[in-house]
């Protein structure tokens, strides 16, 4: 069994049996075996085998690009169920700020937060508030430490995994602080333990998520202890129940639950994290293809101007978390709604400056670094890798190079690699198969003209009608 993403030295057996460490899954009944997902996967983690897509676990970064591009809705992210509310005696909803962008009819953030309580949660803690704590910690951290520039944000778990899989030399650039969701979940848990009177195991912290990759964070947080997140509920699963409550919620029923300022609320938008840092030399990149492109540029030393950039936000989804694969609203509609939500309506929200939360960045440091996951390595023995590499190039040169995808691999190069890794054969290529069929047909045609010696033959005695030189020609790869 393989595991994607960084992981603690020992993985509890029950997690492995649950297979929840990897959130993006395939609905086999819906999959038509087309080539959309294999072509769009940024880490080439998908192949089509026996007419169905197969995800290569160690390559998948849970970015959710396949969920977005599948025209048959056959890709989904495994998340928890709202029914799990019954498993706890005290529950806290920890909504990602992008949730505020999903309800056109909601008047205020407090309305949405109140609605969460009405559908069954005992309390709410905004991830936006945790984000502000992370911003304070980041400011401190950058002041007191020198990291490789540009420092790369680690708020997006898919980007962290991408670096682990494809850019091991950029691991030193990663900001080694817990993501806002983890910090907010910690805050929620501590608050509940203090206020509710229930035992830790009776308290359930529910992250309300637009994101496929956060499920992995729940099982494999970059800290020594267990994650404070108990359950992950997708925006899609909570959308209808929450909308039902919001429809009838009166302004006077809204509780004053919002604690975050505009800085935390706009965090999920591209640039939001950097703006909360109060720095000028930052860039913000969103969309996984653009993220791969910029990381390649930095990794290839192709532009040393990046040494001047202090901070770089990389968000796997176009439009940041508002464009998450588990959201309901179109990302641009969401941006419009979000603008209304983050404004200072009726002076309700404190927006002057980032609240001076009493934060020490040491409390948020990672307990372990994400490790390189060497998915491209052909063999642990380098001499064997030389041989495989040579064979791979030979195969690649024999393939048509049109990257049609009919073999189930995203490109001819990927098929060549799969063949030397022994997970595919040359005749998976329809063009090679056709060549092979033609060769066999020619051979059959030649054999058809050959007569046993006991029968009458054309030509001189002793001379075969078939040419022995052509008999074994063009065998190539079988």
């Amino acid at each position: 069994m393989t595991i994607s993403g960084g992981r603690p030295a020992e993985i509890p057996a029950e997690l492995l049996s649950k297979e929840k460490f990897h959130s993006v899954r395939l609905d086999r009944d819906k999959c038509q075996g087309c080539t959309n997902c294999i072509k769009n996967c940024p880490t080439q983690a998908i192949r089509v085998r026996n007419g169905k897509a197969v995800i290569i676990n160690e390559r998948c970064i849970d970015c959710g690009e396949c969920i977005r591009t599948c025209s048959n809705n056959a890709k989904k992210a495994v998340t928890d169920s709202l029914d799990d509310l019954r498993n706890y005696r005290y529950t806290i909803a920890v909504p990602a700020p992008a949730l505020y962008s999903q309800y056109r009819t909601a008047r205020t953030r407090n309305g949405i937060l109140t609605a969460l309580k009405k559908i069954g949660f005992d309390d709410v803690v905004e991830v936006a508030y945790g984000a502000e704590a992370v911003s304070n910690a980041t400011r401190q951290y950058l002041k007191e430490n020198t990291l490789q520039k540009p420092v790369i944000s680690t708020a997006c778990p898919a980007v962290v995994k991408l670096v682990q899989v494809k850019f091991p030399n950029l691991i030193d650039h990663l900001l080694p602080l817990q993501a806002p969701v983890e910090v907010a979940a910690d805050m929620a848990r501590k608050k509940a333990e203090k206020e509710s009177g229930f035992a830790p195991e009776e308290i359930g912290v529910f992250f309300i998520s637009p994101c496929a990759a956060k499920m992995g964070t729940k099982y494999f947080p970059l800290k020594g202890t267990k994650s404070s997140i108990d359950e992950v509920i997708s925006f899609q699963d909570i959308y209808i129940p929450l909308r039902g409550v919001l429809k009838t919620l009166q302004p006077e029923q809204e509780e004053d639950l919002a604690t975050a300022s505009i800085y935390g609320v706009r965090w999920p938008n591209p640039g939001g994290e950097s703006l909360a840092l109060d720095i000028n030399k930052f860039i913000s990149v969103d969309g996984i293809k653009d993220v791969v492109g910029i990381l390649e540029t930095i990794d290839n030393n192709a532009d040393d101007k990046f040494g001047d950039v202090d901070f770089m936000e990389c968000l796997a989804c176009k439009g940041g978390c508002l464009g998450g694969p588990l959201t309901v609203k179109n990302v641009y509609v969401a941006q419009v709604i979000m603008k209304g939500m983050r404004s200072e309506q009726n002076g309700r929200y404190k927006v002057a400056e980032l609240p001076g939360m009493d934060v020490d960045y040491h409390d948020y440091l990672w307990d372990r670094s994400p490790e390189h996951i060497p998915v491209d390595k052909l063999d642990t023995d380098m001499v064997k890798a030389f041989i495989k590499m040579e064979k791979m190039e030979e195969i690649r040169d024999s393939l048509p190079g049109i990257d049609c995808g009919a073999c189930g691999a995203p490109s001819c190069v990927a098929l060549a690699e799969d063949i030397v890794r022994e997970s595919a054969t040359i005749t998976d290529c329809v063009f090679k198969l056709r060549e092979r069929v033609r060769e066999l047909a020619n051979e059959m045609f030649e054999l058809e003209g050959v007569m046993p010696p006991t029968l009458e033959r054309k030509g001189v005695i002793g001379e075969r009608t078939r040419n022995p030189d052509t008999h074994h020609e063009g065998g190539g790869f079988r």
């Binding site: 290839n300 040393d304 390189h372 060497p374 491209d376 001499v383 030389f386």
Partner: protein
Amino acid sequence: MAESNKMHLETVIAKDDFASAGEASSKVKKTLTMLGVAPAQIKRISVAMYEAEINAFIHGGGGMAYTDVYPDRVEILIEDHGKGIEDIELAMQEGYSTASEEVRMMGFGAGMGLPNMKNNSDNLTIDSRPGEGTKVRMCFNIGN
């Protein structure tokens, strides 16, 4: 291509084509990754090779890159037939550059090329004659 104990790679360094500048070192980097060379080694090899490649591109009018990978070392030869280096000792100094203003505007020509090659390789030899071209040989010990 490969004998049993090594892997040989040849890459053309384009002339006057900024879009493909750095392609040779990028290709070598991909190959080293697939061969399982440690990321830290790949980093210094690609930094040094990139510098040599860019020099061949800017000053040498393009050329060839030859890479030999052995289990314990990587040897790279970058060859061009350009204008050559007049004074190698002077060229080795940090900040010394003969690049044109135009090239500097593009972010190159800071005079760190040769020092970066020296600092990132375990052995560097430069063979150059004015008017005939330059051969840069670098060797990197990669352990194993």
